[in-house]
Every structure is written in structure tokens, then in C-alpha cells.
């Protein structure tokens, strides 16, 4: 073992009178460890949220949305879709009649709510957004037996079946088989005198299924009907106002959207086509998440910096404590470099142990929060804690186990095992649904995604900060004059 390592390791595990320094070393390691663990966990949650949202957006949404300025209807859409699907990188495209309608409250004589209604071709829509996979119930918008049943029961004309977002259904208090009256259009009556009156165009739909994507933004405000029905409602035979496009690689959306616009072949003079990518639609959300991550990294780096100051103060105390030893070592021929090395190793080992312990804790918590396995009863955890306390008491009185390295090592391993077991018993995936937060966060469970590149980065950053924290005390130790150090009281 190299001389510097030999001395530094002994100082780190110092005995008896100097055990105070040893305790501070442990506190320093814990400080760095907690900082690193926190940053790994928080970033894993933020990354999980971002990727959870991305995955859900990508599972539910078209990658590119093509429409005309002013949301005008356009014809020849099947030809346009064929040309769009010929573009390299495009998987499928689907025609949609997209509109906003009012929910008419029977008896209340007014519009209760507004919802977005998508008139779709189920087969084509499935290829783009996988619509049917998210529906509980029927997707037979025109042939469902519920339509006839409702017409007979209500004595009203029923335009067709409708699939509504699960949260929307809950909000409106409707179930499968119920009829929903929608205000399709609201036009000012040209013949009205005095205050304006409106001509209201109603349409009745029967609820045939619920759409549940786990994304509140959709489940809360979107309903689906047959494309043909929507075309009839808006007198737009063989016309749609939106084409949804799915790509092989969603990240290529920005590049391919130009080619898609060209392939659609709209005359720029009369009908100007525009495309919106999924990234643009959610740009503000992703920007906010990114900003949040940057802020988190900065705050956590400051936490690690505080821990590094802790290391620095530990080392300064060690240098003060060891001043006479430093003097002795210098008289024995240790160079300034040797002394610098001893204290740099000491600080670096504290930083490294803290970083490794923090990474293990952070990654362990990430694993526990993302794996829903059956956990032992909390009683076992309390039992383990009690056993640990008993062991510590026995050791405190030194009646059973002799003092020594094996005992120290054994107790350290026991501590780690007990802490790990207690965490295993108590830390479980967090259900946002149970906490009533799924509406806010758009997902049912707190998502965790470990970013290994970031784990590596934060390890490096933490070690670097700790290493920098050790330089001053180590330099201070190496600059002690041997004679002054020997005479230090």
C-alpha cells in the first residue's frame, strides 16, 4: 500500500480519542450521499413524468396534424391520404371531422359544457392513434343496438353512437345507453329584431363506450362519433377538416411535416395547409419540465456543495487535530506532496464513499418506487429496527462482542441491511389516483425513469465538488512548517 494511502486510511478509521473525527467523517459521507440520492430520485421522477407523458401522447395522438387555415373543410381527402402515406417515414393517415359542440342540459335550458368531438373512421383511426385499444364498450357508432333502444325509449331521433372520455362521462354523470344532447351549431337568427336570437341545431347521441387514455387532457374533454355522422351534421359530404398522420419515428415530425404538407397538394392561394407536430402541441409543457429539471439540478448541486463544505470543515478539523502528527511526519522525511496526498485521499475517499452510497440509495429508492411487488409486513421492519437497537446497546456496554475491525465491519453491514430492509418494507410505488392527483399529473402512478447518463454525470459532479472541497485543507496541511507543527499546542 502506498504510504499516503496507508496513513490516510488510518486517519479515516481513527480510533479512541479521535473517534469524534470518525463520526464527522460518517456525517460528511451521509451528507454527500443524501444529496446524490435526492438528485437521482428527483430527476428520475421528472424524467419519468416527461417520458410518461411523451409515451401517452404518442400512444393517443397523431404525430402530425394537417389542417387548413381557418379549419375549413376540404375534399379529396382519401387521395391526399394516399399521397401522404407514400411519403417515406409515414406509417398511416386518418381523416377526421374535428369540431367543438355544446352539451345541452335537459330542463336547464342552457349549454352545460363544451366538448371536442372527433368524427372518425374507426379502421383508419386505429392505424394512427390506436383508438379502439383505449375504448371500454362498443365502437359501432352506427350499428350498435343501443341506438335503436334509445330511440324507442326516448322517442327522439338519434344521430348515432358516441364514445366519450371516461372523466367527461363521470363529470356529466352519464353512462352507457344514456342519451347526450349536443348543440352542433349556434347561428344568429337573421330575422331577429332587437336583441339577437340564435338558431340552435341539436343532435342526440347514445353513449356506447368510454375512452380511457389515462391522459386527463383527452379523457376529460373529447368524444368520438362516426366520421359520416359528423359530415352530415356539418353538411360536409365527402369532406373532412383534419388529417392525422402517424410516423415511423415521432422525433422526425418536424422534418417530415413539410413533406406531408407538400404531399397533401393544397393550392396555397385558396387553401393554405398547415401542420402541427405533437412536439409543438405540447411545447410549453416540455419546456416547463425541462426548466424544472435544470432548476432541480442547480438546487441539488448546491446541496452537494453544502456537503462538500462539510467535508472541508471535517478536514480542517482533522488537520488541526493532526498538526503535531504532520510535524512528526515532516521530521521523518515526508514531503509536502506526501502530506497533501494524505489529506486529498482522505477527502476524496469521503466524497467517493458518499457518492457511491448516495447512488446506491437513490437507485434503490427508484427501484422500490417503480416495482410493485408484495412487501413484507411493516412489523418485520419494526422487528429489524429493534434488533439493531439491541445490538447497539449490547455493543455500547461491550459485554458480548469484542472491539475490533470485524465488529465494525459486521455492524456496518448490519446497518446497511436493516436500512435496506426497512426501505423495502415501506417504500412502494406512489398511486396518484389514490391521492386524487391523477387529474393534475395526467397519470395514475408516479412514474420513475432512471437516466443513467445523468446518474454518471451527477456522480462525476459530486466527486469533483468534494475533491475541490478537500483541496484547501490539504494545501493548508502541506504548508505547515515542520517546526511550527511540532510545537503546536
Amino acid at each position: 500500500m502506498k504510504f499516503e494511502w496507508f496513513v490516510a486510511s488510518r486517519y479515516l478509521l481513527s480510533r479512541r480519542k479521535q473517534s469524534f473525527i470518525s463520526i464527522i467523517s460518517i456525517i460528511s459521507i451521509a451528507g454527500v450521499g443524501l444529496g446524490v440520492a435526492t438528485v437521482i430520485l428527483v430527476i428520475a421522477v421528472l424524467d419519468g413524468v416527461e417520458h410518461g407523458l411523451r409515451d401517452r401522447f404518442l400512444a393517443n395522438e397523431a404525430h402530425v396534424v394537417l389542417r387548413l387555415i381557418g379549419n375549413n373543410f376540404f375534399g379529396d381527402y382519401q387521395d391526399r391520404i394516399e399521397r401522404i402515406t407514400d411519403v417515406e417515414g409515414v406509417v398511416a393517415a386518418s381523416p377526421v371531422v374535428y369540431s367543438q359542440m355544446g352539451v345541452f342540459q335537459t330542463g336547464g335550458e342552457g349549454i352545460k359544457d363544451t366538448i371536442f368531438v372527433k368524427g372518425i373512421d374507426t379502421a383508419q383511426e386505429d392505424k394512427v392513434t390506436g383508438f379502439s385499444h383505449f375504448v371500454e364498450g362498443s365502437v359501432d357508432f352506427q350499428t350498435s343496438p343501443l341506438i335503436k333502444e334509445a330511440a324507442l325509449r326516448e322517442g327522439e331521433t338519434i344521430s348515432g353512437g358516441m364514445v366519450v372520455g371516461s372523466r367527461l362521462a363521470a363529470r356529466l354523470g352519464i353512462g352507457v345507453g344514456d342519451v347526450l344532447r349536443l348543440v352542433v351549431s349556434l347561428d344568429e337568427n337573421p330575422g331577429s329584431i332587437g336583441s339577437p336570437t340564435f338558431l340552435v341545431d341539436f343532435s342526440n347521441f347514445v353513449i356506447i363506450g368510454f375512452y380511457e387514455s389515462e391522459l386527463a387532457v383527452y379523457d376529460n374533454q373529447i368524444a368520438y362519433i362516426a366520421k359520416e355522422t359528423a359530415q352530415e351534421l356539418y353538411d360536409a359530404e365527402d369532406k373532412v377538416n383534419v388529417i392525422l398522420v402517424k410516423l415511423e419515428d415521432a422525433e422526425m415530425a418536424s422534418e417530415l411535416s413539410v413533406l406531408i404538407e407538400d404531399a397533401a397538394q393544397f393550392s396555397d392561394i385558396i387553401d393554405r395547409a398547415i401542420t402541427t407536430t405533437w412536439l409543438e402541441t405540447h411545447a410549453s409543457l416540455f419546456a416547463a419540465l425541462k426548466l424544472e429539471k435544470i432548476a432541480t439540478v442547480i438546487i441539488e448541486a448546491l446541496i452537494i456543495l453544502v456537503a462538500a463544505f462539510n467535508i472541508a470543515s471535517t478536514l480542517i478539523m482533522t488537520v488541526m487535530e493532526k498538526t503535531r502528527d504532520i510535524g512528526t511526519l515532516r521530521t521523518l522525511g515526508a514531503s509536502r506532496g506526501n502530506i497533501l496526498g494524505i489529506f486529498m485521499i482522505q477527502g476524496s475517499v469521503i466524497g467517493m464513499l458518499g457518492t457511491i452510497a448516495g447512488s446506491a440509495l437513490g437507485l434503490g429508492l427508484c427501484w422500490l418506487l417503480s416495482n410493485n411487488v408484495v412487501r413484507p409486513s411493516p412489523l418485520y421492519a419494526f422487528g429489524a429496527i429493534a434488533l439493531l437497537i439491541i445490538c447497539q446497546i449490547v455493543i455500547a456496554f461491550r459485554r458480548l462482542i469484542p472491539h475490533g475491525t470485524i465488529r465494525k465491519l459486521g455492524m456496518s453491514v448490519f446497518w446497511v441491511v436493516v436500512v435496506g430492509f426497512v426501505l423495502y418494507c415501506f417504500v412502494k410505488p406512489i398511486s396518484l389516483k389514490e391521492l386524487g392527483l391523477s387529474g393534475i399529473y395526467q397519470m395514475n402512478e408516479l412514474p420513475i425513469r432512471v437516466n443513467w447518463f445523468f446518474v454518471g454525470f451527477i456522480n462525476l459532479l459530486s466527486f469533483l465538488i468534494c475533491w475541490l472541497g478537500t483541496t484547501y485543507p490539504a494545501w493548508q496541511a502541506s504548508n505547515l512548517k515542520p517546526i511550527e507543527a511540532l510545537q503546536y499546542e
Binding site: 479512541r16 521530521t331 521523518l332 517546526i483
Partner: protein, 240 residues
């Protein structure tokens, strides 16, 4: 008694040392001239505060003189760089202090081996066979502890040793690199009379067996009786 014809190991020429506190100068050594011969025990005596320890520190390269020269075998060490002095201190000088100055975290054997480990770490810095050489250092340390009568105390820590035992460990430590000279600052100043005798026996035995040169600063008249020569430091100069 040693013969006058013995060669000089150390020659001190007109050595001055002053300490400064702001603008005020405190002259401690005012032109010391002294020769130390090979294999002798030289005792330096004098009143408290006369500069005995300062002279020893200068001899031990722990401090630099304000003026004057110190020659070790005709080599002027006052001209050495910091780096050279550190190496010289490690290889050519052994120290024994009044308060043993053993490292509390290390066992007696490790304390004795420390100087050798430092030497090996410098000489075989890029040699992977370092461990073999380190083994050699420990063998020497065991041998030295045996020679000072501490063969049963190798694994004991300083706190587990008596005052005399600690001082004997310190003497063994000073010898690890077979130094040209051992500089001892009041080696019996902190131990009782009986223990002092045993420490002095050890010093004398080593001197006789190994021809080891000792320069000892002391108030202890028994020690000066055992020395080959005794010089008095008076008013910052060697008297007589």
C-alpha cells in the same frame, strides 16, 4: 574515550539564527561554531532559552539559519532546496523528542517503520514490487524494536505503552533508515529517573554496537556523563 583523530561528520560555521516579531529581532544563536565527530555522543547543555533546541532544529534541517553554514561530510546543507532537505532529513537524520511524538493511530511497529515507508515510497515510486521492499522495512523495524527490548510490544499503540517504552520506540524509529546522526532533544526530560537510566542504556548500547552518532540536547547531567563530549551553549555561542 574516542580519539581526536576521528573524522568530522558535521561542521557548523558561524551559525546565526534570529526570530522576528514585527520589526523586533530576537537573536538566539550568535555565531555558533561546532564540529560533531563520527560515532560520538555529543551532549549540548545550557540554560533554558539559550537556543539549544533551535540549534538542534537547524542541524536537523527543520529550520533554516539566518546566517552561517552547516556541513554534513563537507556537504553544505544550508544551500539545499526544500525538496533536497526533505529527502536528506529522511535518509540522514533521526529525531528523538522530549515528548516522544509517536503517531497515536499507529502501532509501535508501524511507528518505527514509518520513516522507512516514506523512504521506500520515494525511491520505488514507479516500482510495482514495492510490497517486497516494504516487507524489508518491517523486518528492520522488528529488529530495531527487539534491540531496544520491546519485542513483546510490536502491536501495541502508544497509549498502551509506558513513558519509557514510548521513548524507546522513538529511538528505534530514529534508526530505521540508518541515519548519519540521531538528534535528540531532551530525551529523558519527560520520564522518571529509573526510566531515564534504561533509555540512556539503550542510547549507549546503540552507539557502541552500531557506531551511531548522537547529538543530544539535555539538562540531564547523567546523560552528559555518558557522552563522549559535552559542550555548553552560553549567550548564543559555544563556550570555551
Amino acid at each position: 574515550m574516542l580519539q581526536d583523530s576521528m573524522t568530522n561528520l558535521i561542521r557548523i560555521d558561524n551559525l546565526h539564527k534570529s526570530f522576528y516579531d514585527g520589526d523586533s529581532e530576537l537573536k538566539v544563536l550568535k555565531g555558533v561554531n561546532l564540529e560533531v565527530r563520527n560515532s560520538e555522543i555529543l551532549a549540548i547543555m545550557g540554560a533554558s532559552g539559550v537556543g539549544k533546541s533551535t540549534l538542534l532544529h537547524l542541524l536537523g534541517t527543520l529550520d533554516r539559519p539566518t546566517d552561517g553554514r552547516i556541513y554534513y561530510e563537507d556537504q553544505d546543507i544550508t544551500a539545499f532546496t526544500e525538496r533536497d532537505l526533505t529527502r536528506f532529513r529522511n535518509e540522514a537524520i533521526g529525531f528523538v523528542f522530549q515528548f516522544h511524538q509517536l503517531l497515536p493511530e499507529f502501532a509501535a511497529l508501524e511507528n518505527v517503520a514509518m520513516g522507512g515507508l516514506i523512504r521506500k515510497s520515494k525511491s520505488v515510486k514507479f516500482d510495482d514490487s514495492n510490497s517486497l521492499n516494504i516487507g524489508g522495512v518491517y523486518e528492520t523495524a522488528v529488529h530495531l524494536l527487539n534491540s531496544v527490548g520491546l519485542s513483546e510490544r510490536l502491536e501495541h499503540y502508544p497509549s498502551q505503552l509506558s513513558g519509557g517504552e514510548r521513548q524507546r520506540v522513538a529511538i528505534a524509529r530514529a534508526l530505521i533508515n540508518q541515519p548519519k546522526v540521531v538528534l535528540a532533544d531532551e530525551p529523558t526530560g519527560n520520564i522518571d529517573d529509573k526510566t531515564s537510566e534504561s533509555v540512556l542504556d539503550v542510547l549507549q548500547d546503540i552507539n557502541e554496537r552500531l557506531n551511531q552518532t548522537f547529538v543530544i540536547v539535555t539538562h540531564d547531567s547523567r546523560l552528559s556523563e555518558r557522552a563522549h563530549r559535552t559542550v555548553q551553549l552560553v549567550g548564543g555561542r559555544i563556550a570555551g
